[in-house]
């Protein structure tokens, strides 16, 4: 049986990769995907704890996190398309001021 710590360590490393991606990347869509990766790392923690301690609450939380991620995808990609229409670019540095 795999110790719980292994899952937590894997989740921490995945979360860190997501954080580094958000900082290093400049393409809005790639930053968005790194945020999704961070959400998934947290989901892995939830499911691991839920399974090892036998409490189903963690998996319910994962369900809600996935719903939030889906809503975020819909609105976030809509914003990205609106930015692209105005600027012909997905570079977040060019959209650093909140005006046209």
């Amino acid at each position: 049986m795999v110790p719980l710590t292994w899952y937590l360590a894997l989740s921490a490393v995945l979360f860190t990769i997501g954080v580094v991606g958000v900082i290093v990347k400049r393409n809005a869509i790639q930053m968005f995907m790194c945020i999704e990766l961070m959400l998934n790392a947290v989901n892995l923690t939830f499911v691991a704890f839920s399974s090892y301690f036998g409490d189903v609450t963690g998996q319910l939380f994962v369900f809600i996190v996935m719903t939030v991620a889906a809503a975020e995808a819909a609105v976030g990609l809509g914003i990205i398309i609106a930015i692209f229409r105005n600027r012909e670019s997905l570079d977040v540095d060019e959209a650093s001021v909140l005006r046209l």
Partner: protein
């Protein structure tokens, strides 16, 4: 005896396989410059995580992971990437190069923090599923029971969130497009377009109300004469 050893070893091998796959795909996602390749790597991460959920005996979450994340969300992302025809990321200007060491530093801090926390809590983290663990944790029935009884309010609030996202996405998508029905205020500035025969040219989206509003505006500004009974007789 060998069978028993295999049963002990198999979960470890599966964890190393899928955990390694998840890590590899995640690193590839950040390292890629082309957003489409990043998206494909992210799908790999999601699939690996779904397999890890299966090793944790959570089949419902694994199925939802594949359907919602790898299916719905990533289809949306790939669709947007192809719609916008995003080119590869260009080299960053000098003034932003400092972000890479900042990212590495922050990663080191985060990993150190996580290692510390895992060391502190090492005695508390179980190596096996607890013996008191109910056998149905992770099955669809137990999740549904919890969701519709104890956690009904969060579930309902989630539906409100989805509705807000729906309205927000539609509002954003409609942005910048001309209104379908022209109000009188929208058409006063516009000159009428005439066909070769001298009649007004119709364009898609024009309604009878548009034409009437336009005529009223022209009469009000004196560009056109109000229809008189004499003019009607001449036409007849």
């Amino acid at each position: 005896m060998a069978n028993n050893e295999l049963q002990q070893l198999l979960p470890v091998l599966l964890f190393i396989l899928f955990g390694g796959m998840a890590l590899g795909f995640a690193v590839a996602m950040v390292a890629q410059r082309n957003p489409l390749y990043s998206a494909v790597s992210l799908i790999g991460v999601f699939i690996s995580l779904a397999c890890l959920y299966l090793t944790l005996q959570a089949p419902f979450i694994a199925a939802i992971q594949v359907i919602v994340y790898a299916g719905a969300i990533m289809v949306l992302v790939v669709f947007v990437i192809m719609l916008l025809n995003v080119e590869e990321e260009v080299r960053r200007p000098v003034r932003l190069r400092y972000l890479v060491p900042v990212g590495v530093l922050l990663a080191a801090v985060l990993v150190g923090e996580a290692t510390f926390m895992l060391q502190v809590g090492r005695g508390a983290a179980p190596d096996h599923f607890l013996p008191s663990r109910p056998s149905d944790v992770g099955l669809t029935a137990s999740i549904g029971t919890g969701m519709y009884t104890k956690y009904l309010l969060p579930f309902e609030v989630t539906s409100v969130l989805i509705l807000m996202a729906l309205v927000g996405a539609i509002t954003l998508a409609r942005q910048g497009r001309a209104p379908l029905l022209a109000a009188p205020g929208n058409v006063t500035e516009e000159q009428p377009r005439l066909t070769a025969g001298g009649g007004p040219a119709l364009k898609p989206g024009d309604t009878a109300a548009t034409g009437r509003a336009f005529a009223r505006a022209q009469i009000a500004s004196g560009e056109a004469a109000a229809p008189s009974s004499g003019a009607r007789e001449e036409e007849g």
